[in-house]
Amino acid sequence: MGLRRVAIVGAGLTKFMRRAEETGRELSFYAGKMALESAGMTLKDIQCVAESTAPDAFDGVHMNGEYLSDGSGGWRKPYLRSYVGGGSGVFVVIHGWYQVASGMFDTCLVVASEKMSSCHPHPQGAFLNIFDNFIERPLGCNLLWIFALEMNRYMTVHNISHEQIALVSVKNKRNALDNPVAQIPEKITVQDVLNSEVLAWPVHRLDISPTSDGAGALVLVSEELAYKYTDKPVWIDGVGWNLDTTYWTNKDLYYPRYVEKAAKMAYKMAGITEPRKEIHIAEPYDPFDYKELHHMEGLLLCEKGEAPKLTEKGVTQRDGALPTCPSGGLLGVGNPIAASGVMKVCEMFWQLRGEAGARQVTRDCKTALAQAWGDLMQVGTVVVLRK
């Protein structure tokens, strides 16, 4: 395709928090600086900046990308913000990849930050604007509805129990106990999830990730420069993204076909024909526990309806054959929208390099995957990474 191979050579995160003292620009700076320093670089080495943050309504700052640009290291540089709702955090890595793969730039700093705590009384107020103006918003809907409808459909089609789904929340929150970034690491049981408050049946409180403030950053460089900055580059060998219709009530929610299309695009680019064998570790997007399972199926990491069974068997634990969300995921680490996707890519970067510390998975991993999802049950964003 005439594209250059692109390496990740540095990664940085802030803590994820319910409410941070810092502004979005300050959080961006901390994550960006940490990523640059981890690669032994300064901003002078960076030729362009790819930034992402959720739509402006969350912050109440119009053109929020411009506001965040200095904290992201983007001033007087080719700077561009991209976002696709919850899919943004992986999409911005694809956006950064393109800048370098295309040959336009040799180095790119990718930064994503989020301040969800600014929107009062609850950031759901901003989420509501995604529903159809005419036939959905007048119903007085809230964001939980679409997740509850999707979860119920998924459970009913495959005859999946809530106990099976709750195992994901138990696993991810426990994995987060080893993650210094984490906002709500916890040791809980399946029964705790089932006994937690019913918010929008079948969704209970412990099925859901929290709202968060936080930032993440990555440094991408061309193949020619990779070994100048590290002896352990992690290669972005496949990228894929796909957007489905906004007529979300017209499709069968039991399966995310847009995630499958995004995954197939990334697998093709990476030369992967058997993802179940060739993907060794994954960070599927888990804003709700059932969504990790839903996404594993869309990513073709198992058959439709099979993800709960793999989870029950322990396959997705850190010592399993296909560890998923070893970071602790959004359920345990937190969900500062765009930053959470970058967090997933950071985790895969550290896992492939053997630098994940207490979170390091047992099996040897050469190929990793990170995925995010967003909009009105609409977008899938996928990257395939290799060491």
């Binding site: 803590k15 928090m17 959080l27 981890s38 107020g125 005419f134 119903l139 007085g140 459909r153 069968d252």
Partner: protein, 169 residues
């Protein structure tokens, strides 16, 4: 690089007492913006239909699929849609929830039952609405439902002209 530690990470989590003691400052504002959205060609006619107590769909000129809510182009074929079809005001529950919270996370005692209803006469095309006249615990996916309309003179050309859908045999 060594594994990350808490000390390496920027960010200061705030606690309630930070605000109580005035240690951190903030600025509060309310953005006031008002909008007046044009319903458009397809949705405009759909809303007119609701005023008349009818649910309209459209048929794609190319794939012949009948869908609702109406649109002037088929998103699958990218072909024009001009044919209007009157659908039934009955359908099947494709999925539902029993919801105890409002958008601002405040709690409600009597739960709402939002649902996706596949409208009869369309090809697997659902719309979102609420269910009524039913014990939430007895709702099942696959149940047949029918629209309960507001009285004619109360209808305004809004999705709320349908009060809710109720189960039928």
């Amino acid at each position: 690089m060594k594994a990350i530690t808490r000390e390496m990470l920027g960010g200061t989590p705030l606690k309630e007492k930070d605000f109580e003691k005035g240690r951190v400052l903030y600025y509060d504002d309310h953005l006031r913006t008002a909008y007046n959205w044009d319903a458009g060609v397809a949705m405009g006619k759909f809303l007119q239909g609701l005023k008349e107590g009818k649910i309209y769909g459209v048929r794609c000129s190319k794939c012949k699929r009948v869908v609702t809510p109406p649109r002037v182009f088929c998103e699958e074929c990218y072909a024009p849609i001009e044919e209007w079809v009157e659908l039934k005001d009955t359908g099947v529950i494709d999925s539902f929830s029993i919801c105890y919270v409002r958008w601002d996370a405040s709690r409600i005692k009597k739960p709402e039952v939002p649902a996706i209803i596949l409208i009869d006469g369309a090809d697997r095309a659902g719309i979102m609405h609420k269910l009524g006249e039913v014990d939430p615990k007895k709702v099942k996916i696959g149940m047949k439902v029918k629209a309960v309309w507001k009285r004619k003179k109360e209808r305004t050309g809004s999705i709320l002209d349908i009060k809710y859908f109720k189960p039928i045999k």
